[in-house]
């Protein structure tokens, strides 16, 4: 198998007068968890639909696992698992029957289907409830089932559209953990769209940021933070009054200062030694307990990129 799971080449897609994707080019290596980040309406779902051959590009082309998404769409779909915007779980059917259906679709043998149902439902902690109708389950449980369904036929690539959207924190964490452990144990490539930055930061090896149908940047979360995120200093202590904050803001290396509950977050123009800032604080009578150097979170990077694009 090629070491590139997804290759998108200058792909655009129009809906009437709206351009949903605008010359998108992207390569996703095999065996990684790739996060496709972007605000609502950026073109994330359209990209997934195009990759699955559910839509045809207006211009450009894409290959998934070496297959053209237009002329070999059935080959693509046979080798991918998908969890789309809606879980797609048949609520009037049991969990077992939902998985059985997708096993039959993928022409797995009866013994393989039975073994796989047990394996996956056990892994996600739902084996004991396999006979229950999915309608009686929580949304988080249905999402876990949909994740198991996407992986059921052991596809080398799974495409997930906002897999934790709309879930409460506990369910989202559970789905994320299942996703990470299943992806590791199965060794699959995962392409997931999300607008949850912390999610992407936690589970993705590589992220691409899309805005208005165009790729803004791509790289490892750390690389993006280093490239686009500005250095920060975080100081924990007491006595950070307005006078002190004003002095800090007046310094040339400081871009902005935020103070909240005894925690100062100082955004710097470049990575500089924080010692002069600490000296200034101590000299003005503040008490400094902790000093941390850091870079912006992926969320900050994302917001910066969105601002730059405007």
């Amino acid at each position: 198998m090629s070491n590139v799971a997804i290759r998108i080449d200058n792909m655009s897609r129009d809906f009437d007068t709206t351009r949903a994707l605008d010359g998108l080019s992207l390569e996703v290596p095999s065996g990684i968890v790739f996060g496709f980040l972007g605000p609502n309406g950026a073109g994330k779902t359209t990209t997934i639909r195009l990759l699955l051959g559910l839509l045809e590009p207006t211009t450009g082309r894409a290959e998934v696992l070496g297959y053209d998404t237009v002329t070999q769409a059935e080959e693509v779909r046979a080798r991918t698992g998908a969890l789309l915007e809606n879980s797609g779980v048949y609520e009037q059917m049991s969990a077992e029957d939902n998985l059985e259906f997708y096993g039959r679709i993928n022409r797995m043998s009866k013994s393989d289907r039975d073994a796989r149902i047990k394996e996956l439902l056990t892994n996600i902690g739902l084996w004991e409830r396999r006979k229950e109708k999915a309608a009686d389950w929580s949304r988080g449980m249905r999402q876990k089932l949909a994740l198991a369904r996407a992986m059921f036929h052991r596809p080398p690539l799974i495409l997930l559209d906002e897999p934790t959207a709309g879930l409460d924190v506990a369910s989202a964490v559970a789905v994320r953990e299942d996703l990470t452990s299943l992806a590791e144990s199965e060794g699959v490539t995962v392409f997931l769209t999300t607008h949850n930055m912390s999610e992407a930061e936690k589970i993705c090896n590589q992220v691409g940021v899309i805005r208005a149908g165009r790729l803004v940047t791509i790289g490892h979360p750390d690389e993006l933070r280093a490239k686009a995120g500005r250095p920060q200093v975080e100081i924990v202590g007491r006595g950070f009054d307005e006078h002190i904050l004003g002095l800090l803001r007046a310094r040339p290396e400081v871009i902005s200062v935020e103070s909240q509950n005894g925690r100062l977050t100082i955004n710097l123009r470049e990575a500089t030694d924080p010692a002069p800032l600490v000296s200034l604080l101590v000299g003005e009578g503040a008490q400094v307990e902790e000093v941390h150097r850091g870079s912006a979170s992926l969320e900050d990077v994302f917001l910066t990129l969105m601002e730059e694009e405007k």
């Binding site: 639909r49 839509l55 779909r77 797609g88 048949y90």
Partner: protein, 242 residues
Amino acid sequence: MKDDILTVVWKESKALLKVQGSRSRILLVMLTPILLSVVMPLTFDEPTEWTNTVFSMMVAVIVPMMLVGVTIPDSFAGERERNTLETLLASRLPDRAILFGKWSISVLFAWLVTLASLLLGLITVNIKFWGGGILFYSPTVAIGDLLISLLMATTVAGAGVLISLRASNVQSATQTLMMIFLLPLVLFQVVAVFALRPMIEYLENMNGEQLLIIVLLVLLLIDVIVNALALSRFQRAKLILI
């Protein structure tokens, strides 16, 4: 392709009668064959009024129409309404396997219920007019019942697919479909009221076989057109945008 169609049939058979609302609609519709097949034969004075005339063909027309009219929208528009369509389309199933699988289970279900209703009517007539020998439908009526019910089921299924592709939900698809097929029946009744005698005279000049062949040919023509349209319209790229 055959295995894929059977997979869809398996899934549809699991889902049939299980969706809330649809189950009650289908059970309500199931009352129609019982009323037609049991109550109507009981009102006749002669057994041949049921076994040798067009009355049993009412069952062959109405029952498949009503059953397919409920199951097809639920199967197609319902898949979209319940947000399961896109995931199904993202699977490796070919478009035609999805279409034929859903179409077949609805047609088969309706046709079997219709045949069971016709059998029920025959049993009713045999019980009411029992004279030591078993009564059967005349060959023309039997062939007519079998073919008309099958053609009605497939025609309504094709039309149901077309309507469901554009309908926003199951209810609107069902209503539109029923309206389309009940309208000709209502028009026929209106025409019959005002032109009963000329109609009878015209029909009396034809023998039963001739009339049956004409009806079957017309139905077959409509059937082929409607299903060819459904086949050409049922495409992933179009479905995903609706």
